[in-house]
Every structure is written in C-alpha cells, then in structure tokens.
Symmetry: C2
Subunit: 301 residues, 2 copies
C-alpha cells in the first residue's frame, strides 16, 4: 500500500473513469490501472466495479475510499507541519542557564529576542552547570548559558561576554568608602557564597585562593538571597558585574571593584554540534552578547 496508490483510488472514485483519473494524477492510464490492481491484490478485495459505462466503487470499496481520504488528509498535515516548522526561528527553544546569570541576563534579553525571533518562545531551565551539561547532552535543553571553561565532547561553545567580579559590602562596613579591594584581602572577611555546586562560587574561590574553606556556604540557589544577607550585615560577598548593574542599586550596599586585574569570568553559549537550528543559536548569541557587553560596562564603580 502506497500513498500514491491511495491517491489513485481517490481519483478514480471522484472521476469514475480510469482515463480521467490518470490524467488528474499526471500518469498514464495503464500506470493507474496497475496501481489500483496492485492495491486490490494486496488488500484482497475489489475496490471498483469496471463497466463500460461507469466505474463504481464496491461496498467495501466505498469504505476504503473514505478511509483513504482520512489517510491522505493526515499525511498532508505532515507537509503542513513541515512547512510551518522549517524555520529554525519557529518553535520553542529550550535554554538552560546558570543561576548566577539567569536573573540578570534574561529580563534584559527577552525584548530584543522577541523582536528578532517573534515565533520562538524560550523555555528556560535555570540550574547548575553539571546538570545543564547533562541536559544539554541528553537533548533536554537545546543550548545552555554557562561560564567557561565548558569542555564537553560533541558540544560547541561561543563566548558571549566577560564580566568582572565586584565586592559587595554593607554601607557601614569599613571598606564602604574604598575605591578598590584586592582579592587577597577577602581572606579576613566573612564571605557569603553559594554552595560549591555553583560555578560562580568556584570561580570566586579560585580568584581568591586565601578564601578557600573560609567562605560561608549557603544552600540557596539565589545570589539575591546573599545580597539581602549582606544588606543585613551578615557578611560581605562577591557578585558578577551584571548583578551589580545600576538598576540593582541598593542604599544599604556598596559595590567595590577589585584592584586591576580584576578577577572575572567568561560567559558563553553552548550547544550540541549536531543541533540543527543554527540560525536560532546565532540569534541568541547576538542578543545575549549585546546585552552582556552593554550591561557589564554600565557597572557602578
């Protein structure tokens, strides 16, 4: 049974004439006759009664014609779906993002993204790097926003932007009026950080080796919780540049840059090499790197 054979059947049913049906199908009459015959033999039933005057469907033929209509209709939907869906910028995009980037990058990037790809809604999965890596490889997400290095077999990355780290202290802290702070100095302070599963904590402890084993580890997933704790005089912390952008200003907090060269991290977009919606990747890369570069240069000194 072939879709073409079913088309032949429908044409004969409509035209009630093999020759005209063949014309309609753009084949010669014998081709159509043989097609119908082949189907009839395969099914073991006569579909049409051939007369000189008229070709008439048999009882079972009528039923099968009706069903053939349904089959071709449903098959046509596949083509429709393909036509609609062959735009890489059409259809949900599943994006993973680390906790220390999501809350700051996403709100900014959504408007320009909607402008560039109006038919590509984002489904965002905020998680830690290790989980994102797994989800990326499994195809649970299409791409991930992570901090480099991110060396995963079969996964490609492109840097989006670099962001410096900044020290954040309560306004009544002794450092509150300092212009810069050296990474080494943090070893004497109570530094609040996310737990070690979060890459940002690792990056900070890597940048401030003295801090190792002294940083206060929290179980939450949110830098905002830490920011609020700092505002409550429970310690100090380190935040990435984008989390200290102008609009996150807080009268209870003071942001202090590190002495140059400031520790920083490189945020990148990662996707499977085999992922086919490359146009979607390109759009995301453009939008996010624009936002990232813009936001990290507007940091309050």
């Amino acid at each position: 049974m072939t879709l073409i054979e079913l088309k032949f059947v429908l044409a004969v049913a409509q035209e009630r004439n093999f020759r005209r049906a063949a014309e309609k199908c753009f084949v010669t009459q014998p081709a159509l006759s043989l097609g119908i015959k082949k189907l009839e033999e395969e099914l073991g039933v006569s579909l049409f009664e051939r007369n000189r005057n008229e070709v008439t469907p048999t009882t079972i033929g009528e039923q099968i014609i009706a069903q053939a209509n349904i089959v071709l209709e449903q098959a046509g939907k596949i083509k429709e779906m393909a036509k609609q869906g062959n735009d890489p910028l059409n259809g949900t995009f599943k994006l993973g993002i680390i906790h220390s980037v999501g809350p700051y990058l996403l709100p900014e990037m959504i408007p320009p993204l909607v402008k560039m790809a109006p038919h590509m809604p984002l489904e965002v999965e905020e998680n830690i790097t290790a989980t994102l890596e797994q989800q990326l490889r499994n195809g649970v997400i299409d791409a991930a926003v992570v901090a480099l290095p991110f060396d995963v077999p079969g996964v490609e990355t492109i840097p989006l932007y670099d962001e410096d780290f900044n020290v954040v202290v309560p306004v009544n802290h002794p450092w509150a009026h300092r212009k810069t702070v050296s990474p080494d100095e943090l070893s004497n302070e109570k530094v609040l950080l996310l737990n070690t599963g979060h890459c940002f904590s690792n990056q900070v402890t890597q940048a401030c080796p003295e801090l190792n084993r002294k940083g206060e580890v929290l179980q939450g997933n949110s830098l905002e919780t830490i920011r609020n704790m700092v505002a409550s005089n429970l310690g100090i912390t380190v935040l990435p540049a984008m989390a200290t952008a102008a609009r996150y200003q807080n009268p209870l907090l003071q942001v202090i840059p590190f002495t140059k060269p400031a520790p920083s991290r490189r945020i990148a977009l990662a996707w499977r090499k085999s992922f086919v919606r490359t146009a979607a990747i390109e759009v995301l890369e453009k939008v996010m790197s624009d936002i990232g570069k813009q936001q990290t240069t507007l940091t309050i000194g």
Copy 2:
C-alpha cells in the same frame, strides 16, 4: 513521502539508533538512512539530530513523528477493513425484486439465506422491472429478481424457477367447481390486473390475447389488494403459482389451474457482469431456486 519512509521515521524514533531501526524494518542501515534523508529533503526539515551517542528527534521532528503515527494507524485500518470485507458474503446485499414475486419469495428465503450467509443482510427494493433495470445498471442495487425475458446489456441472468399462472375466482363464481379453465375463456370475465407497468399483467395479457383491453387495470402495486377484491366479488384474477401456495389459502376464494399447457413465466436472478461478489450471487441463486421450485410444486390444484 511514502508510508515506508514514515515507518522508517517511527522506527528511528523508537530505537534512537539507525542500525537497530533498520533491522526492525528488515532493511540495511544505508537504505534506512537514505529513506530518512529523502523525507527530510522533501519536507525541508531535519527530523533527527544525529549524535554519536544518540539520535534525538528535533522539535519539529517530534511533531511529525506523532503525526506519522496517526497516518500509519489510519492506513492500517484500511488493511483491517479489507480483511474484514474481503468475504463476498460479508456486507449488505442490495436486492431488487418485482412486486409479483417479493411478498411470496422473500419471507421464505430469508431463513435459509441467513443460515448460508449470516453476515450478509439483505436490503430489499421492491419495484417494477423498468425501474429495477435502471437501478441495476446504475449500481443502486446489486442484483434483481425479475421475470424473463430480461435482456439488458452488461447484465447476466440465471433462471431460478418456472411458475404456472392460476385463475382465482370467488367461491360463489360459476367456475368455482371447475377443474381447469382455458385462457381464452377469460375474455368474457371481469379480470382484475395491476397496471401495465407491472410485468405480471403483461405476461397474463400475453397468455390470454383475448383479454387485451378488457382487463380491469388497478393502480395499486399489490396482488394482495386484487386478491381481496376478488374475495369481495368484484371480479376474478390470475395469480402466479407462488401466490397461490397452501398458506395463502382463503375460504372465500377458489384457485383453478389453466388447462395444459398452462401459461407460465420464468423467474430469474439478474446482475451486472462486472459485479464482483459472485459468491453472493451463487448463494442467492441456490436459496431462491430451491424455495421457488419447492413452493411452486406445492400449489393447490
């Protein structure tokens, strides 16, 4: 797009591996790869993301896989329908029958027919020969029970049984105690007949030439109406043997055979030569000729 290609797609979707999918489809891996590729090119979309580790459907791929499932399911129904319907003795049989036979043959034939073909319900159309001929040619009915001659192009006939004509008179009629009546004698009587559209009337007037233009023509379609009118002393009539069988006995009526050779008619089954359910024809022929021969020999003399 081919049903086989859709099967390939489903196999890959299930197995998530081209090689295993190919085995499942009883083809080699390149055949399956090419099939998928061909479909992808036709549709203009990637259906699967090929990794070393795993083959994963794309977003649009998942939609199309779901739809392919529907298509194959519906296509499978065609095969089921064919399997169920490939029995010629399965499915409604549309039978036409003339008014002067239907009421007497049908009640008798249904029980043995149900026994021989339990899954072939009859849809009976009782009408005059001219209409039946048209309906037979148009395929409105599958076969017709008519009186010979019935020469219609493209239509085949087989005789079922012969039935003599009998004279029917009221019990108080002068002929009531006669053993036989000659056709010529009817010319002096008031003979009630159906109108000329009915073949039986024609057959009677043909058998009794003197009767021409003297028979009382009625507009009804029922011999039973005439029988009742005869019982009411409105005239006499002629009925076919099967209508005078034992069970139609009436104390107000007397049935008298014609003198030999009695006028008679030959009842036959007619069907389009192109009609494919020949087994159904054979069953009907067997059942009806059996009943016909049995009933016409049980006629009251």
